[in-house]
């Protein structure tokens, strides 16, 4: 068991390196206030709030920051009569 662990355990440093590279690429942008994904998230929620009164607990935002591609998923439950209330 120990021998197996010694010889076949995958190296962990490459994972550390890759995770840091992706994370820092995003953090450097966001400290300059230009992280696109964050900006999109905020603006999309603003636009929706302008038209519909949404319960904050019914808003679900997911972000996944990748090296090449990031994804942003905004999932909002809009009640049938929400539009009338806002108007």
């Amino acid at each position: 068991m120990n021998l197996r662990r010694l010889f076949f355990r995958p190296q962990s440093a490459p994972a550390a390196r890759e995770r840091l590279q992706v994370l820092l690429a995003h953090e450097r942008l966001s400290s300059e206030g230009s992280d696109l994904v964050t900006k999109l998230r905020d603006e999309i929620l603003q636009v929706i709030a302008r038209h519909v009164q949404v319960d904050n607990e019914k808003v679900n935002v997911r972000m996944e920051r990748g090296a090449q591609v990031s994804t942003l998923a905004v999932d909002i439950e809009i009640p049938f009569d929400a539009g009338k209330k806002a108007a």
Partner: protein, 271 residues
């Protein structure tokens, strides 16, 4: 006019105080006049690491508040007569550090010493930003570990935006000091390598300090490691770092990397 250096990292426990003491002593061992200033108000430790904890009378906050003169607060090292310490306050609140006060003290020290080494507290708040505020040179202390590298990146961002030099449109000189490096673990692929950290942070390398028992031994006896054992691996690495700080261009060696078969074998077993 002396040079002002900030030793900083963001993350705590990576070796800022140890490195401040070792670099300060190494510079003074060359005959330069050096003062090491502790900016960690409330959690001072530089006095302890340098073995002067029982001789603290006044501190940085006393000087800033006008309760003591700078010359009264400076403590001369018992072993090196050109090495001085300006301790932080242990009891006062860190809000007692004012921007104007720090500027005055650092300005005065700069005229009397060849090197003013500011030992920054961890974090990115007042104490840390004031420690870096008037620096000409920054030494970013980093461990080959993800959280330390991330925090160093953040600190580099602050150095480029929040220091007096940066605000005046100048560039602050930045160097990486990689501490607690274990070449055997890096070789096995279980620790970030020197090149990994350099590529990610992209600032020039000042030195690599190996993980070593000698560092703990030195702090146990209250002596900078360059004084405690001049021939130990970490001491040699700090002496080399100081030569680079003075502008000498000497190749960086990775401590302990050239080991024979037995060294490798035992290195693995020990880790």
């Amino acid at each position: 006019m002396g040079k002002v250096i900030v030793v900083t990292s963001g993350k705590g426990g990576v070796g800022k105080t140890t490195s401040s003491a070792a670099l300060g002593a190494a510079l003074a061992q060359n005959g330069d006049k050096v003062v090491v200033v502790d900016f960690d108000v409330g959690l001072r430790n530089l006095d302890l690491v340098m073995g002067a904890e029982r001789r603290v009378v006044y501190d940085l906050v006393n000087v800033i508040q006008g309760e003591a003169k700078l010359t009264q607060a400076l403590i001369r090292d018992k072993r090196l007569e050109s090495l001085y310490l300006l301790p932080a306050s242990q009891t006062r609140d860190k809000d007692n550090l004012t921007a104007e006060g720090v500027e005055k003290v650092v300005g005065a020290l700069r005229t009397h010493f060849d090197w003013v080494i500011c030992d920054s507290p961890a974090g990115i708040e007042r104490g840390a930003t004031l420690a870096m505020r008037h620096a000409d040179v920054a030494i970013v202390v980093t461990n080959p570990e993800v959280s330390s590298v991330r925090d160093s990146d953040r600190i580099i961002g602050l150095l480029d935006s929040k220091t007096a030099k940066a605000e005046a449109g100048e560039r602050i000189e930045k160097h990486l000091l990689l501490t607690r490096y274990d070449p055997a673990r890096a070789e096995r692929g279980d620790m970030l390598k020197v090149d990994d950290v350099l590529e990610i942070l992209s600032i020039p390398l000042l030195g690599i300090i190996p993980e070593s028992m000698d560092v703990l031994r030195a702090s146990n006896i209250g002596s900078p490691v360059t004084l405690a054992d001049e021939r130990s691996a970490p001491a040699i690495a700090y002496f080399d770092a100081v030569r680079r700080l003075r502008g000498e261009s000497i190749p960086v060696t990775i401590p302990g990397e050239k080991r024979g078969f037995f060294g490798k074998f035992f290195g693995r077993k020990a880790a």
